[in-house]
Amino acid sequence: EDKVVQSPLSLVVHEGDTVTLNCSYEVTNFRSLLWYKQEKKAPTFLFMLTSSGIEKKSGRLSSILDKKELFSILNITATQTGDSAIYLCAVEALDQGAQKLVFGQGTRLTINP
């Protein structure tokens, strides 16, 4: 069965700290790994990763994928209170000729001022 595990499940840090969120997966027919930020309801897209070792960056956020060890990390530097959210890792898997997203449980990140 396809599985995605995130750690930690919850993290509380002070504004300005750097955080690293982890995502490991066991999925057949891997296509891509995606990171989402969920503040209230709709998850919003952060990154899509398909190749190992290529870092993707967007401002203070960055992410990298290791397809050999089957994990990804999401880094946030100089955290701000607006970064407080649930961060979801999802793996896109091809199954029965169609693609689906398999999500982890999410990491709830709280940034204290």
């Binding site: 309801k41 709709a42 897209f45 899509m48 979801l88």
Partner: protein, 118 residues
């Protein structure tokens, strides 16, 4: 904004009742997937519709059914509601074919329908 629209935003139902949730995909998207997100959990895949047919299904009972219309909008129906069906139901639209790895990739999620079963 031509994003994904879901209705209603909130719903309270009694055990045993039936419910229908609706989703209008992002303009240009032809595929709709439904996810259930229980409190404190990640979204769980329910099923996906493409060309008005269920293309793939997750591990959900037959009480969960759906439909896609010619304009690509979709409905999720849940019969014989249980307390455990209380969750945020998310709809995500996408393109059914191939795409390139660019910032326009992907799945666009709606804001969801919060279903409470009492």
């Amino acid at each position: 904004d031509a994003g994904v629209t879901q209705s209603p935003t909130h719903l309270i139902k009694t055990r045993g009742q039936q419910v229908t949730l609706r989703c209008s995909p992002k303009s240009g998207h032809d595929t709709v997937s439904w996810y259930q997100q229980a409190l404190g959990q990640g979204p769980q895949f329910i099923f996906q519709y493409y060309e008005e047919e269920e293309r793939q299904r997750g591990n959900f009972p037959d009480r969960f059914s759906g439909h896609q219309f010619p304009n690509y909008s979709s409905e999720l129906n849940v019969n014989a509601l249980l307390l455990g069906d209380s969750a945020l139901y998310l709809c995500a639209s996408s393109l059914g074919g191939w795409w390139e790895d660019n910032t326009a990739y992907g799945y666009t999620f709606g804001s969801g329908t919060r279903l409470t079963v009492v």
